[in-house]
């Protein structure tokens, strides 16, 4: 008997509040589902401690310390933002406890900033970029990229480029993060692409303020240029309605994966909220599945070394199908979905229709950590 204490640190407030809320919801739903509603594993009760990092790295760091130290959490999950996650990583090592990162995406979390206490169920930026590359990589295609001019954007483009095999990347456009008017960038892209032969794509990686899709308003069609981008949360996909036929690869869309876990989650979510679950709900759900699967395997033993050895290489079911923690860097390998946008008046957003599931094995996600 006894308790297993799980701390979930995420942005309950701050700029990523909306994402954090989805994760928290998904995580709770996942725990319920994985324990069949008992909230018990091996006779021990799961106690969930939620903390709000407000999107601030220093706060996240001290909350994690407090969670391990003061609240005696056995395992911690979170956070929402990559910056917060990176600040947290050393704390896990100091306290010698597991931090399961979800949904922060920065590569370096399971890359050069990684330590052995870090696991991640969320996808990393490379996975995102590579899956998009796989989706778009066709002979005769000419691609230009548009990304934010900072580390995150550049890394994403780099991973994307590295994964492109047959298509041609002819131009990389980086714009300041505070860009409001995309006309200049669009002009540069048009100039680069308009006289190219073959299918012409602008691949956009953009997060945060500003709406790069505005470039389509410059009538790119007259030059035969199309836009491509990855998936996003549902409100953001409202803009996709303007781009029927747009292709890309997504982490999750509730209508795509066909498996019992996803069906259960979608049904439950519709029942509770009369809406489908979103991106980060699925992420939170997966994290919960990972935690419970691991605990079941250790039979409720929360000793860290035991958990680590159990989780390395562990496979577990999620709404996205089976994921596996890669032994080397503890990143969960998972499927991604090549989609094509269809406009359906029944939905407020552009509906991504599955073209093809990109299996984990098809993506060569580099291992970047040092162990």
């Amino acid at each position: 008997a006894g308790e297993i204490r799980i701390a979930h640190i995420h942005s309950k407030t701050g700029p990523l509040e909306a994402y954090g809320k989805q994760t928290a919801l998904g995580f709770k739903m996942g725990l319920e589902y994985a324990t069949n509603g008992t909230m018990q594993v091996a006779g021990k009760t799961l106690v969930l401690i939620e903390k709000d990092d407000q999107g601030k790295p220093d706060l996240g760091k001290s909350l994690l310390a407090a969670a391990y130290g003061d609240d005696k959490a056995d395992i911690a999950v979170g956070p929402t933002s990559s910056g917060v996650a990176l600040a947290m990583l050393p704390v896990a090592a100091e306290y010698k406890k597991i931090l399961l990162v979800e949904p922060a995406v920065a590569d370096s979390i399971t890359g050069d900033k990684w330590n052995k206490y870090i696991f991640r169920t969320g996808r990393n930026s490379s996975q995102d970029a590579i899956s998009n590359a796989v989706a778009l990589d066709k002979p005769g295609t000419v691609i230009a990229t548009l990304a934010q001019d900072y580390a995150f954007g550049r890394d994403g483009v780099k991973a994307f480029k590295d994964a492109i095999k047959t298509a041609k990347v002819v131009h990389e456009e980086y714009l300041p993060t505070n860009t409001t008017d995309f006309t200049a960038g669009a002009q540069r892209l048009i100039d680069k692409l308009k006289d190219q032969p073959g299918r012409k794509l602008i691949f956009i990686i953009w997060a945060g303020a500003g709406n790069p899709f505005k470039i389509a308003d410059l009538d790119l069609k007259r030059h035969g240029i199309e836009i491509a981008t990855g998936g996003n949360i549902l409100p953001a996909m409202a803009a996709y309605k303007n781009f029927p036929g747009m292709e890309g690869a997504s982490y999750y869309y509730f209508g795509i994966p066909k498996n019992p876990v996803n069906e259960a989650m979608v049904a439950q979510h519709y029942k509770q909220f009369k809406q489908p679950p979103d991106f980060f709900t699925a992420g939170g759900f997966s994290a919960a599945m990972a935690v419970v699967t691991a605990l079941k395997k250790t039979n409720g033993d929360t000793a860290t070394p035991k958990l680590i050895s159990t989780m390395e290489g562990m496979s577990f079911d999620t709404p996205k199908g089976t994921m596996t923690f890669r032994k080397e860097d503890h990143q969960a390998m998972q499927s991604m979905y090549h989609f094509k946008i269809k406009v359906d008046p029944a939905f407020a957003w552009g509906v991504p229709e599955l073209v093809r599931e990109i299996k984990a094995s098809e993506m060569d996600v580099p291992i970047r950590n040092k162990r």
Binding site: D58, K61, Y150
Partner: protein, 368 residues
């Protein structure tokens, strides 16, 4: 003796004196009085803010310069330590030398930037200056995130500190007075000592002839010039002094967090917090920085829990239709904002001003 230490600027109110004493004692014994990692973190943050806000009070309260670039210096200090530690710290951990070099470099950079800003302030008028510093601070933040090779960009830098300052360092086997003495506690007392000493030095500076000239310039710089004070020199002096102290505060924060990022040191939000604390505490009083910081940092860290405790989450209050949404802990900023407004309303002269007005009957107009 005490009077000397306080530079002949005593609290001038019994209640204020008691509160200050309680604060100093509380902070001095915090590791033993308040258990837990969070509490110690909050206490350390209070200390750093006391220094940061006091340095800003020198600029704003005493010299009358409104600048939004103060967090820039704070950030420089923090990045100085972080970059020193990541670049100079070897494989086998970071030495004090690396930290000191980082701090020295940061102080040097602050000196140069402070001079530049000081000189610019001579060219444009007060309100323009304020707005320009706002833009400069934003630009600096942009720069920090651009130079990601050096600064770690948006993600910031996590770094290691000398072993004696890490939590892993535990010289005593048994807990002392119920607390395991580790490197964190040492770091805490290091911060405490530096803050106490620099604060007293600042108090001395504002009660020196120099400090009085700053006040004169704040009141009427035209007149100050006409009795022979070169306001450009004094203004720049004040800008530099406050910039250096802010840099130091930033370095201390970095030392405590073992992490530095744009959000923790450079953001406009922190600037705003500092501004607010100065005003709530009482501008031009120095002691206001102490009371204000303690109060504000406390509210910032425990308001959410307070709301939760009141039943805003899952409790009875959450059931009430509109109120429930309002008192949800997720809306704690709403209440902080409300606190903002009410404080500015009700403490026009700040806490210290209010306390002093209570205890000393104002000088009555003589001759009646």
């Amino acid at each position: 003796m005490i009077d000397r230490l306080l530079s002949a600027d005593p609290p001038r109110s019994r209640l204020l004196a008691v509160l200050l004493l309680a604060t100093v004692l509380g902070l001095a014994c915090a590791p033993f009085l308040f258990p837990g990692a969070k509490a110690l973190g909050v206490a350390a943050k209070m200390l750093v803010f006391i220094l940061l806000v006091a340095s800003y009070d020198l600029l704003l309260g005493y010299t009358g310069i409104v600048s939004f670039a103060h967090t820039m210096f704070f950030g420089i200090g923090a990045y100085g330590v972080a970059i020193g530690a990541t670049r100079l710290g070897g494989e086998d951990g970071t030495g004090f030398g690396a930290l000191l070099i980082g701090v020295a470099g940061a102080l040097g950079l602050s000196l140069v930037l402070g001079l530049l800003i000081g000189l610019f302030s001579l060219r444009v008028k007060a309100i323009f200056f304020a707005m320009i510093t706002l833009a400069v601070a934003a630009a600096f933040q942009g720069l920090a995130s651009q130079l990601s090779d050096v600064t770690g960009g948006e993600d910031g830098l996590s770094f290691s500190v000398p072993e004696v300052l890490t939590p892993a360092f535990e010289p005593f086997v048994a807990p002392v007075l119920g607390r395991v003495i580790d490197g964190q506690v040492f770091t805490y007392y290091l911060i405490f000592t530096v803050v106490l000493m620099v604060f007293l030095a600042l108090l001395r500076a504002v009660n020196s002839p120099f400090g009085r000239v700053l006040q004169a310039i704040r009141e009427n710089d035209f007149r100050a010039e006409a009795i022979g004070y070169r306001s450009a020199v004094y203004r720049t002096g004040s800008t530099l002094l406050s910039a250096l102290v802010a840099t130091l505060a930033g370095a201390l924060l970095a030392l405590w967090l073992r992490y530095t990022g744009p959000d923790t040191t450079l953001s406009f939000e922190i600037m705003l917090d500092v501004l607010l604390i100065v005003v709530i505490g009482g501008m031009g009083t120095m002691y206001g920085a102490v009371l204000g910081s303690v109060l504000f940092v406390f509210a910032q860290n425990y308001l959410q829990e307070g709301l939760r405790w009141m039943g805003g989450e899952g409790g009875w209050l959450a059931e009430v239709p509109v109120l429930g949404a309002l008192v949800s802990p997720d809306r704690w900023l709403l209440w902080l904002g409300l606190g903002f407004v009410l404080c500015v309303y009700h403490f026009p002269t700040g806490l210290v001003g209010r306390l002093r007005a209570r205890s000393t009957p104002g000088p009555s107009p003589a001759g009646h």
